[in-house]
């Protein structure tokens, strides 16, 4: 019995991976059509020409499938952020922040149901598995290098103090920050990044949930104002 077959995959394994991919693809389409609660394993199976229980050979529970889709979603978002960061790598920090914010929103409105899958509570009693937390950090990583170029003032100082405390407590965080932003104050980068995250999520999640319906502003305008305000407050070089 060849052990894990991680590098050279057996035909069986390759077939299995392919079908898993098709299931995920079909599930994603269903979610895009009707949101996470509209995902029915039965319907997915039918769409693939299978019967319901067959899917349980590939995913033990419905939530396992959801979790995997969530991880993929995080990866996609992280890729979008990284691509945007690369695109403006040589621009001044202020501009880079605006670009990252716009990329975040662009990805979210392009697949709103997936965004709600990541940000919302998908399922009864669903508690985000630890692996999703790590993935989420990949999305925020590119922000560290940008916000680290600013500094905290006023009430943000208290936030930065808490970040310092956190950095002292768990060295892994410091490593993570350093890997994205080697030459900046980690606590400042963290405080700025968390703030940017909260602002982006605030604007975008209200938008994708349709809560701006019947209000007279564009979400893009609001997000841009929020990012510029953050750049101002942290004195990001233009």
């Amino acid at each position: 019995m060849p052990d894990g077959s991680s590098s050279t995959s057996t035909p069986r394994q390759r077939y299995r991976d392919q079908v898993r991919g098709e299931i995920k693809q079909a599930a994603l389409e269903q979610i895009c059509a009707g949101g996470a609660p509209a995902l029915s394993l039965n319907a997915v199976a039918k769409g693939l020409g299978l019967t319901g229980p067959a899917l349980y050979k590939y995913f033990r529970k419905r939530d396992d499938l959801l979790t995997e889709l969530i991880c993929d979603g995080y990866d996609a978002a992280a890729a979008a952020m990284r691509a945007a960061a690369d695109r403006v790598a040589d621009a001044p920090p202020r501009e880079r922040l605006l670009a990252l914010g716009a990329a975040f929103r662009a990805w979210a409105v392009e697949s709103p149901h997936v965004y709600q899958l990541l940000a919302g509570t998908p399922s009864p009693g669903y508690h985000a598995p630890p692996e999703t937390v790590d993935r989420a950090r990949g999305v925020l990583g590119p922000l560290l290098g940008v916000l680290g170029r600013g500094d905290c003032r006023g009430a943000a100082l208290e936030l930065r103090a808490e970040m310092r405390f956190w950095l002292n407590d768990s060295p892994a965080v410091g490593e993570w920050v350093k890997s994205w932003a080697p030459d900046v104050d980690p606590a400042t980068a963290l405080a700025g990044t968390v703030t940017a995250w909260a602002r982006m999520h605030g604007v975008v999640s209200l938008e994708v949930q349709g809560l701006y319906e019947g209000m007279g502003h564009r979400a893009g305008t609001l997000l841009k104002a929020e990012m510029e305000a953050l750049a101002d407050a942290m004195g990001l070089p233009a």
Copy 2:
């Protein structure tokens, strides 16, 4: 046949109202225990000593019950905001903004599942009925009078311009703003309020969804920093 029986209620009507209240109460407890998707009409009925289909005499669909709970939730949030506003009615605007932000968060963390009920997508194909939009405005109302005391700068000017456009288009909005804040520039008040809303929701929704888990900051600190930053940016008198 006495027509609507709105003032003097018949015994029948009173009984009906009472049972409806009990159903809502039991449903709310179930939601508090396991979130919106865990709400089962069957279980609620069983808890009240009834059988499942009996509830359909009181609520036509499961979503109708949810919608009513959402409306109640908005009302509760609005009441909390109004109470906080009254408590600091004589304080300077900056302090009032902080108090409103804290009240918003306090209400949300006190009943996180209800907050997710309002802010999230509760149900497959659930589209917020128009009445909930009006209710949502009640929550934001107290902010108008506070943010209206500031002014917009930088990128917020663009947001304010869109608000002016909106005010021109639909006079009802102007009336609404005037009812909460008679003596301020409505466009500024709207721009500031929407910004405050997005920031509060950003911080609080990440918190109640547990996304801060394993991060080294307190949500209260972040929210305070966000509100102070907004006060700074809009030049709110301290």
